[in-house]
Subunit: 136 residues, 2 copies
Amino acid sequence: MDPLSLEVVELIGTVVGRYYEEYERAAAEHSLTGAQARVLGLLALEPMPMRQIAHKLKCEPSNITGIVDRLEARGLVERRPDPADRRVKLAAPTPDGLTTATDLRDSLNFAREPLAELSAEERTALRDLLKRMLGA
Amino acid sequence: MDPLSLEVVELIGTVVGRYYEEYERAAAEHSLTGAQARVLGLLALEPMPMRQIAHKLKCEPSNITGIVDRLEARGLVERRPDPADRRVKLAAPTPDGLTTATDLRDSLNFAREPLAELSAEERTALRDLLKRMLGA
DNA sequence: CGAGTTACTTGACAATCTCAAATATCTCGG
DNA sequence: CCGAGATATTTGAGATTGTCAAGTAACTCG
């Protein structure tokens, strides 16, 4: 690989490290683990079956059972029957869970400091480059 | 937060997700966990005391003991005495570990596909923006 | 020398993850 | 309609990662 691409990969690695760290910190502030925060954040967008959570998070469905168990025990999530298929359980955030998810999103400071360094034009350029990099 | 910054954060979240996924995949191809791959990659740059690994990875030193144990059991890493301080154990990759670390780095495809989309000028622009975002 | 600090390990425990097996339910061909 | 096979979820075993508290060995400095 050319040195320029290598440098960019290196930088992205650093961004990934910082983002992850920040995400875990924000989750911990709400006494959540990273995995719990990710599931809750997903459900805050839209309730969904266990299987779909596993698919989005790229892990085994049996893993999701435990994570949702813990979120449910804390009253942040509930399992609802799917009217169309009795095998399926829809995981949905409770009002409390929705509040927590919103708080969590707001307390993800990652954006603030690092992006404040950039002008609006630079942020636009960054957005477009990332978009292109991630594919159409 | 303004909509533009929000969009950039969203995109960075996606990049982080893809990078992480790719990293785990590359590690798994070498029968390593992500944590083991991160420690091995760190030691491939430079042997260092257990404590320093923990500091770089932002976890407890007692955690590193187990990870290095497993890498050592597979012959990828060895513990050496520090001539200057008998309390300290320097973790260093074996020749085999160094080879694995190099293979691992090369098989991190993340860069290839996504960055191939960008021209050299765009990659330069991306590099500079990321650099600025990450601070001087 | 000796009190306090530092490096690493150990042990207990929680969370995450995988895999295989069990249960309940759905789907579809015959 | 019935039964074989597929699908959704859970359970249980086991590995790994992570924390914290305590223990051991070695360093530092007055």
